[in-house]
Amino acid sequence: MTLIPSPSCQHRVLVIDDEAAIRRFLHSALSSDEFLLHEAESGHSGLSAVAGFRPEVVLLDLGLPDIDGIEVIRRIREWSQVPIIVLSVRDQEDDKVAALDAGADDYLTKPFGVGELLARMRASLRRSQTTTPEPVFLCGELVVDFSLRRVTVAETDVQLTPTEYDLLKLLTAHAGKVLTHSFILKQIWGIAYQDQPQILRVTISNVRKKIERDPARPKYITTEPGVGYRFKTAG
């Protein structure tokens, strides 16, 4: 049986990676009626493909032969808000932070499984498609009612300080996405606090104590060591 690609419901995915083996793997893994793949093997060809192919998601390798991956992100962000998922190797926490701060939406550490990749891609697609935030955020036992500024866990009210509430609101507003320390600090406390990670640590710890069943095994707010925090969404 052959699948006839129907452009209307297939998501256009651009892969920018110079490794042929990885492009081949992604090609087989993502070949389905859900995605339409376009491959680029350098930063320059990738940038022109963003304009020509109009992808809905970009999978970008940071170690490209011609332009630095971070630079590719910056140039895309000059005119496009397409979700960018960075593919990077372990021990490149600095690069991950730089990529996220330059405007990448997420990252995957190589080697990664297809399940994880698909989950991240779908989450990015979902985020880019929803424009108006829901008035109520639901995740497991946690309910955040933005209109009432009310937070409940298993139907029990949770008393958060204004800062704790703002932090939870920021994380849930970007649910599924990694937020870097400096981004959160800037958003919640302002630019003057960007180099004061301890204030963020303490606030995160306090929020966890109030919303997590076991704060040592957080289910909602997860830590990405060396990078930032992610509000974990189911699936």
């Binding site: 372990r90 021990d91 926490e93 600095d94 080697p111 320390h181 990670p197 301890q198 640590r201 303490v202 995160i204 710890s205 966890r208 704060p215 040592a216 095994r217 957080p218 997860t222 830590t223 060591p225 060396g226």
Partner: protein, 359 residues
């Protein structure tokens, strides 16, 4: 430069003879000149032991001259009134030469012996290093190849014979390949960490960390490998933030949890405990496994050390030495002890900020 050494030897014989002369001058009222020659003989022995044959002979020669000049009547001339003294001179000189030769020979022998034993020691160290390197290489190639064998085998079975296999068998092969690929990835990561630690290029990105968060990260990363295993976390209330490299410290805890998981019975509990002890943070990971023989406790952190266990447990022998490298880079220390109730405790102690201020 090389001429200085023998020269300084002869200078020292002159000093010895002068010293002998001074002593003789002091004892002159109590001794007949013939007995004074013993003092000079002593100088020759000292020269032979300390300086070698030639300076000793020089000392004997200078000794005869000094003895003759200062003490043999008529004094302060080289002339000799009593010709019997010529026999004394000759006897002294010959004894001096014999002593110097004997002492020098003994000296040379001991120097040679020291040289030989040094060479033997060097050869032994070299051999030990070679053995260790061979063992490392064997271990590394074994650990790299074993997962590759399984992966290649599983994939080729699927590729060449997939249609004849049951869906259960296919699933099993795929899972094997996946697990082994993960193992290979961990091993490569370990090797990289180890290389970085050994090269001294480990760069800490310290940030204030919450211990609960640290433990949480390690548990989350180990979730799949720990499976149903119960991990009890007991953290003292009110632990302050501590400045450390979150990524590397998470790695340390992961390695410790992985070991505890591998080396203790599957139903038993692993305990993570953190408290403040003095000016240090005291973090322990304990298991209820067989523990480690006391004589082996210190070897636990050696590179490629693997505890001898009946069944082969897949490990690289790198985990704990990586932990040691990372903890020490933080100015902390890591140690192992056996639990009174059975099992092993790995203890990490990290200096707290107050500790550094006190220093």
């Amino acid at each position: 430069m090389t001429i200085l050494r023998p020269l300084s030897g002869y200078m020292f014989s002159l000093v010895l003879v002068t010293a002998a002369t001074v002593i003789c001058e002091f004892v002159r009222p109590y001794l007949v000149p013939t007995n004074m020659i013993m003092v000079y003989q002593l100088a020759v022995v000292v020269a032979a032991v300390k300086l070698g044959r030639r300076p000793a002979i020089a000392t004997a020669f200078l000794g005869v001259l000094a003895f003759d000049f200062f003490f043999v009547p008529p004094r302060l001339t080289f002339s000799v009134a009593d010709k019997e003294y010529l026999v004394t001179f000759l006897g002294f000189f010959i004894v001096g030469i014999i002593i110097s030769s004997l002492v020098a020979k003994v000296r040379e022998q001991s120097v040679e012996q020291a040289r030989l034993s040094r060479q033997a020691e060097q050869a032994r160290i070299l051999q030990a290093q070679e053995n260790l390197e061979r063992a490392l290489l064997n271990s590394i190639s074994h650990d790299l190849r074993t997962p590759l064998v399984s992966i290649t085998g599983a994939l080729s079975a699927l590729k060449d014979n997939g249609e004849h296999l049951s869906s259960h068998a296919r699933r099993e092969l795929l899972e094997t390949a996946g697990d082994e690929a993960e193992r290979l990835n961990r091993f490569v990561g370990n090797l990289l960490d180890m290389t970085r630690i050994e090269a001294g290029v480990i760069r800490l990105r310290k940030e204030p960390c919450d211990i609960q968060e640290l433990v949480g990260c390690a548990l989350a990363a180990m979730e799949k490998r720990l499976g149903e295993r119960e991990v009890s976390v007991a953290l003292a209330p009110g632990l302050s933030l501590i400045s450390l490299d979150m990524v590397l410290m998470t790695q340390v805890l992961m390695n410790l949890l992985d070991n505890a998981n591998k080396y203790s019975p599957s139903g038993s509990v692993i305990t993570v405990h953190a408290t403040t002890a003095g000016n240090c943070l005291d973090l322990t990971v304990s298991d209820s496994g067989p523990g480690v023989p006391p004589s082996e406790l210190s070897k636990l952190f050696d590179k490629f050390y693997r505890i001898a266990v009946p069944e082969r447990i897949g490990g690289t022998g790198l985990g704990l030495s990586i932990c040691k490298g990372i903890v020490e880079a933080h100015g902390g220390c890591i140690s192992a002890e056996n639990r009174a109730s059975g099992g092993l405790i790995i203890r990490i102690q990290l200096p707290l900020p107050d500790c550094c201020e006190a220093l």
